[in-house]
């Protein structure tokens, strides 16, 4: 089956945007749970989500004060900020609109309905009362779309580039959450040992990793175990290691894959070195920073090899 480079490009981005919308919804939902469980005053600041999503600039352009209202407004109701759920869904929809011909018939309808739902409900979901319902609906609908694609797409290029986009986004989000989330927890180390498990628990929840962690590692949530789980657990489908392995699997049969394979192998080697010894906060941050750079190099090599339309 032939696949136009321009179509591969759009599929990849459709998938990244859908994953981004879902992950952002999980992140906000997890934080929401956390603030209700934690003693007032010990919660991480609201802007932690802004930092995780690298959205400082978009936030500062719109708001002066960091408040629940402003942060939530930006993340779930703003239609123009690239970090927002409506923006991700609008972008996913635009990409589906231009790739309808390679997707299952229902894909367009589902994505379009999701877009309509967000357009109608986002504004009224900023307040705490409707927020959780809204986020749960976003997550459910994204999963429905993923389920449709997973269960109906032939395992050809269409599926391949969708999978590449989703896994890359998922790995990216996982590393961001650990970087900023763990950073926040470690910065306050010792001072509030009683709430640390709640914070690490929220971090797992933001990655939908709670029950998998419990079964694999046990009920006790601790820094090294959590970091190891998120990065290096081989069987959990949202772990960074699992994503990297999946990306490698899809890159292997593609033509012209030398650079991308080189990039993915660098990432694998780096992951392999993790967990040999406990990391300090600084070491963890440096590790993730480097890892993020290599992820973006991987994206670049994928884009160069298969999406460019100028050369032939």
């Amino acid at each position: 089956m032939t696949m136009l480079s321009s179509v591969a490009d759009r599929l990849y981005w459709m998938s990244r945007y859908l994953e981004r919308a879902e992950d952002t919804a999980r992140l906000v939902a997890a934080y929401n749970h956390l603030i209700m469980d934690i003693p007032r005053g010990s919660e991480p600041p609201w802007d932690i989500m802004i930092r995780i999503l690298d959205a400082e600039q978009a936030f500062e352009e719109r708001y002066r004060t960091v408040s629940e209202q402003n942060v939530i407004k930006l993340l779930i109701a703003d239609t123009h900020a690239p970090c927002s759920i409506p923006f991700a869904i609008k972008s996913a929809r635009e990409n589906v609109r231009t790739t309808r011909d390679v997707l299952p018939e229902d894909a367009w309808e589902l994505v379009n309905e999701l877009h309509l739902y967000v357009a109608e409900s986002a504004k009224s979901s900023v307040g705490r009362r409707n927020r959780q319902t809204f986020l749960a609906e976003i997550i459910a609908r994204c999963q429905m779309i993923n389920g449709l694609l997973l269960s109906t797409l032939s395992r050809d290029h269409t599926y391949r580039f969708i999978k590449l986009g989703r896994l890359l986004e998922c790995a990216d989000m996982g590393t961001r959450v650990v970087d900023v989330g763990a950073g926040d927890i470690l910065d306050r180390a010792g001072s509030r040992a009683a709430i640390d498990p709640l914070l690490w628990g929220a971090l797992l929840q933001a990655l939908s990793a709670t029950s998998a962690y419990r079964r694999e590692v046990g009920p006790i949530v601790e820094q090294d175990d959590v970091v190891n789980f998120v990065f290096a657990q081989a069987n959990f489908p949202r772990s960074v290691k699992f994503c990297i392995a999946g990306i490698r699997e899809e890159l292997t049969p593609l033509r012209n894959n030398e650079n991308a394979l080189r990039a993915i192998n660098r990432l694998r080697r780096r992951l392999g070195r993790l967990g040999k010894e406990a990391l300090t906060r600084e070491e963890l941050h440096a590790f993730i920073d480097e890892f993020q750079l290599q992820l973006s190099a991987l994206h670049q090599s994928i884009s160069d090899a298969w999406f460019r339309t100028d050369g032939s």
């Binding site: 032939t2 136009l4 231009t98 309808r100 018939e105 309808e109 379009n112 012209n256 298969w306 339309t309």
Partner: protein, 482 residues
């Protein structure tokens, strides 16, 4: 019962569903019985579910305005239009005949030019027309087919007779809406289908694929067909995607294709260049290839004409086919049918006055309030004057335009377009209709059963174009007794 069914009057026009005396036409009887039995609220909730279905299916079209492009939901009326199989069979034969003659004409003017030499069609109106494309001279596409996809606009007069108003041979659009309209009716009025056998319309993409595949220069089991779109901002983008998906073809923009030094067309794929056999272009030929036509086009594919002339790729519709899509040429179609086929035209054309002829022009200028005046070379219903609905100032303005450039204007008697009951603002009222069937011409000729019915949603209006507030209806061709 919804307001307006009782005492429904088409007011002297032919109505497709209800006779002058107010009784249902035979084919419409069952459908009307059901529709009239629906309580008012029910009718309204069906209309709402249709709107919802349209939004969810994302059926839209783009309107260009000064404020930018707006993506509008497709306007749809839930009451179907019903035509009997017997009536349709005759129209369909007439359309096939027309398509054959038009293709003979295009082929002739780019080759021997017999019809010009024999003086049946004046040579200057063909050869001086901007639609005559010199680079196409001497070309001989397979089966002599140039206009592979034709959308002809039909109307019905007071007696219900069908007339062809124009033949769109360049990039006719609307067929996806024909298919989707049926899909919507199935969703919102499923009971209507119980007592009818209605000819299906959803096999159009398949028929289109068969027609296009026949044109492939390489003999392969599954030739590579692409749909060439100007892009997402084109008003018919929805349709381009719809057809590509329906045919399992690639939807490409100009930048996805290139012509290599072997004069073959390739698309850029993740596996490297892949050869293309057939290009279904939904882009005007002017923009198709900056090497051959407009150099400033960024939508086209440099070298596409070269590849076509070398016979390395088929293009549908063939470049140059637009030479027969001209309201002046239209006046000669009955002559073409007699000339090329030796047959009598089976479907009527509208009497047409050519302003370039002095006698016709005098008549037109003296009778502007009675006539419809159209520019020869515009589409989408732009630049038209409907005499009876226009002011004296407009009449004077058109008189000036005609005198300045008579070749560019034709006039026709104002036709009384047929009507059908339409649900408007909570009431049933008659609204004027036209019909655009699609004719496919490859080795064989095939006509859609029915076509796209467009409705002028404003009371008394004859303008059906969706860009100007027109709506549409599902169109049924029904077999046997209903």
């Amino acid at each position: 019962m919804t307001k307006g069914w009782k005492g429904y009057k088409a007011g002297g026009f032919y109505d497709d569903l209800i006779t002058d005396k107010g009784s249902p036409r035979t084919a419409a009887r069952q459908a009307l019985r059901l529709l009239q039995s629906l309580p008012e609220e029910d009718m309204d909730s069906r209309r709402q579910s249709a709107d919802l279905a349209i939004r969810e299916m994302g059926i839209s079209f783009t309107v260009y305005t000064e404020g930018g492009n707006i993506d509008r939901a497709w306007p749809f009326d839930i009451i179907p239009r019903i035509i009997t199989g017997r009536e349709w069979a005759q129209v369909s034969r007439g359309l096939q005949q027309r398509s054959r003659a038009l293709n003979c004409f295009i082929h002739d003017v780019y080759n021997q030019q017999r019809i010009l030499a024999d003086g049946i069609v004046p040579a200057d109106i063909v050869l001086d027309s901007p639609n005559f494309k010199a680079p196409c001279v001497g070309m001989s596409p397979r089966y002599g087919a140039w206009a592979h996809i034709c959308g002809s606009d039909l109307v019905r007069d007071q007696r219900g007779r069908f007339f062809v108003l124009e033949d769109n041979l360049r990039v006719p659009s609307g067929v996806s809406y024909m298919v989707e309209n049926r899909e919507i009716t199935k969703r919102v009025l499923p009971e209507l289908f119980e007592n009818y056998s209605i000819l299906p319309v959803d096999d159009y993409p398949l028929k289109l694929y068969e027609t296009l595949a026949q044109l492939s220069p390489r003999q392969r089991r599954r030739p590579t067909v692409v749909v060439l779109t100007p892009g997402i901002y084109n008003s018919a983008y929805f349709e381009h995607a719809f057809l590509a998906q329906g045919m399992g073809a690639e939807l490409v923009e100009g930048t996805d294709l290139f012509v290599d030094s072997d004069d073959c067309v390739y698309m850029r794929t993740v596996d490297g260049p892949a050869r293309v056999d057939v290009v279904y272009r939904r882009i005007d030929e002017e923009f198709m290839d900056p090497e051959a036509f407009r150099a400033d086009s960024v939508l086209g594919v440099p070298g596409l004409m070269r590849a076509w002339k070398q016979g390395n790729v088929a293009i549908a519709n063939a470049p140059g086919a637009g030479v027969a899509d001209d309201k002046v040429i239209y006046a000669y179609v009955p002559d073409m049918i007699r000339y090329y086929l030796g047959e009598k035209p089976l479907v009527n054309s509208v009497p047409t006055y050519l302003c370039m002829r002095e006698k016709d022009r005098d008549y037109v200028l003296a009778n502007l309030p009675k006539l419809v005046v159209k520019p020869a070379n515009e589409s989408g219903g732009y630049g038209i004057m409907v005499g009876p609905h226009s002011s004296k100032t407009t009449h004077r303005e058109f008189a000036r335009l005609i005198e300045k450039d008579p070749r560019n204007y034709i006039a026709q008697p104002t036709l009384s377009l047929s009507t059908a009951p339409t649900y408007v603002d909570g009431q049933i009222e008659p609204r004027h209709l036209d019909l655009r069937p699609f004719i496919l011409q490859g080795r064989d000729c095939w006509v859609t059963p029915g076509g796209l019915t467009r409705v002028a949603m404003k009371k008394g209006s004859l303008v059906v174009n969706s860009s100007q507030g027109g709506g549409s209806k599902d169109t049924w061709v029904v077999e046997g007794k209903a």
